[in-house]
């Protein structure tokens, strides 16, 4: 089963980044593959580029690994498929073009021109399409009404099978996401001009609508004003209620937001729009995983009378501006704590420790300098460094997700998970204890591919480490 994930706008890309981190760490996802499709006219957007690069690296690492039934490694287990160039659904006529040119305002009749000027401000009409809709859903709703015409969208529909699912990620308080979500949903549910219309129209579709969770600095020159976020969200919610929830056009609808908000720099778009990671994005990625693991509440869409939309929200056990695993509910804690800790240990070992070349786990499996200098290790280290950076970004937010002590002290390697003291008295300590567990792990047959042996070995060793030292299983 594949889950096609449409990530609309900057929030869509940031949630995809969080999703990639969770899948890299091995959070359980029952889908065989995730197919990310980024919908964002801002091709040069920092968030888009960062998410796409990360997902490409994920794919490069995963291509060297084997996940047949006997393998135990869960790092990078779920496939992330690149079916579109740079994971992006290209939007036509949005490059080097202003909104009035896009609509061909000058070619309109006098009456239509007057109507357009009624609906769109001069600032709207002058706006540059290549950096997105800058918080203007009225602009987005025009430009994004072109999914059916896209060859890549047609390819998606063509590849779609009866088992596949669709998930849409969007924010409700901006421009691209707020306008793109209802349009995309409408296309998916009603369009007959695509391949496999029956399969796509009746597919199990879920979405997450991200309510305001950050604000931007006030800038009179900018089109983005965070004072309007809440009012925009309210009117969009009211629209979603009428046109989505009450019609049951969607099967599962998730809501997430936060009233404690970090203030970001006011950037309208382009490479500079690269917001730090936020807990809300991680939770949105969890919503995607929850959706992938869930049953369709409406297996028979033909009978409208019995259709229902399942609404879900996320909450934490205890309100705190510093969220650790302790503040999470039992289900989220169980889902996240073990894999995230394992992957962080794996990352720390490769990043902070050097003295392992004579250890039996290296010698026995002939992991030589060539292997440690290979593209596989280099890409893996890049992803792991991103992972640590991603955790640090979340820890720096106004409402911080800070479950780990992100220090580099070689004498406190296992003093890692907040609220969880390392236990046990062992002769080997810190990274030597890590070596001890690597040496004592049987893992993959020594005749297999080195990359596979390496990943399997680290997965099994970190699994033992978190159990022995941190009592996490």
């Amino acid at each position: 089963m594949k889950v096609y994930v449409f990530g609309i706008g900057g929030t869509g890309s940031r949630v995809m980044r969080a999703m990639t981190m969770l899948l890299a760490s091995g959070v359980e996802c029952k889908a065989d593959a995730i197919v990310p499709i980024i919908v964002d006219p801002d091709a040069a957007g920092g968030d888009v580029e960062r998410a796409a690069t990360l997902m490409r690296h994920y794919g490069e690492i995963r291509s060297k690994l084997d996940f047949s039934s006997k393998k135990q490694n869960r790092f990078f287990r779920t496939e992330i498929m690149e079916t579109m160039p740079n994971f992006r659904l290209p939007l036509s006529n949005t490059e080097d073009c202003r909104f009035d040119e896009y609509m061909d305002l000058s070619g309109m009749s006098k009456e239509n021109k007057a109507l357009a000027r009624l609906l769109f401000s001069q600032k709207n009409l002058d706006s540059d399409m290549k950096i997105g809709f800058k918080g203007n859903p009225n602009v987005g709703s025009v430009v994004l009404n072109q999914f059916e015409d896209s060859i890549h969208f047609q390819n998606f529909a063509n590849d779609f099978t009866a088992q596949d699912k669709i998930f849409i990620i969007s924010s409700i308080f901006g421009g691209t996401g707020a306008s793109g979500f209802p349009l995309l949903l409408k296309t998916l549910r009603t369009s007959n001009n695509i391949a496999n219309p029956n399969l796509v129209n009746n597919a199990h579709i879920g979405a997450i609508t991200v309510l305001p969770y950050f604000q931007v600095q006030q800038d009179d020159e900018s089109s983005i004003d965070s004072a309007t976020f809440v009012s925009k969200a309210k009117s969009a919610l009211s629209y979603y209620l009428r046109s989505i929830s009450q019609n049951n056009t969607i099967d599962d609808l998730y809501y997430v937001g936060d009233d404690t908000r970090t203030t970001y720099e006011n950037v309208e778009g382009g490479a500079e729009q690269k917001n730090n990671a936020h807990f809300v994005e991680l939770i949105s990625a969890l919503a995607l995983i929850d959706f992938a693991n869930s049953q369709n509440p409406n297996p028979e869409r033909s009978n409208a009378e019995y259709l229902q939309t399942v609404h879900k929200e996320f909450g934490i056990e205890k309100d705190s501006n510093e969220i650790t695993f302790v503040e999470l509910g039992q289900k989220s804690k169980k889902q996240l704590r073990k894999p995230m800790t394992q992957f962080l240990l794996f990352a720390k070992y490769l990043d902070e420790y050097r003295d392992f070349m004579s250890q039996p786990w290296v010698v026995d499996r002939k992991f030589d300098d060539n292997f440690f200098d290979s593209d596989f290790i280099s890409t893996l280290k890049t992803v792991q460094s991103e992972y640590i950076g991603w955790l640090a970004e979340m820890a720096g937010q106004q409402r911080a997700f800070t479950p780990f002590n992100l220090h580099r002290d070689p004498n406190r390697v296992f003093d890692l998970v907040k609220g969880n003291s390392p236990r046990g008295v062992f002769f080997d300590k810190n990274f030597k204890f890590f070596d001890n567990r690597l040496n004592g792990t049987r893992g993959e047959s020594k005749s297999g591919e080195k990359e596979q042996q390496f990943a399997e070995l680290f997965y099994l060793a970190t699994e033992k480490l978190v159990k022995d030292k941190l009592n996490i299983d």
Binding site: F427, D428, K432, G440
Partner: protein
């Protein structure tokens, strides 16, 4: 067993001298004559050397079995410890035998120190052989010393 241990210690007679070798092999003085008795001391001393080597082998490879202590120089230190223990065992054992040697053998305390040295070398050899034969089952030190 007497023959095996006597043969091994026999390699080092030039170090600790023939007279001490005679006594340890089991010769006794009866007047000015040597008589071969049945008390060969090479076997108990050799068995102690072997036992100490096995004890340190088990401790290093299977009890401590540490990823921190699996470099070649850690192993050399353990081998030296085995040698030091047996150096003193060999010396103490032969010093204790001095009153029993009779007038036909000329053995000095210095010879006892030299026998201690020979015993240290023998025990180190035992440790080397046992290490190479039995290291493969150790998870942390299977490639130690190399």
């Amino acid at each position: 067993m007497n023959i095996i241990f006597s043969w091994i210690y026999g390699w080092f007679i030039s170090i600790f001298g023939e007279d001490l070798d005679y006594h340890l092999f089991g010769y006794e003085c009866q007047g000015d004559e040597f008589v071969l008795g049945d008390r060969c001391l090479y076997t108990p001393i050799g068995l102690v050397a072997l036992g100490v080597a096995i004890l340190f082998f088990v401790l290093y490879y299977y009890i401590v079995n540490s990823a921190k202590l699996n470099r070649w120089w850690h192993w050399v230190i353990v081998m030296l410890l085995v040698g030091i223990v047996n150096f003193f065992v060999g010396h103490a054992w032969t010093v204790a035998e001095l009153p029993n040697m009779g007038g036909c053998l000329t053995v000095y305390v210095g010879d006892c120190w030299l026998f201690g040295l020979a015993n240290a070398i023998v025990s180190a050899l035992f440790f080397i052989i046992i290490s190479f034969a039995g290291k493969w089952g150790s998870s942390q030190c299977k490639h130690t010393p190399f």
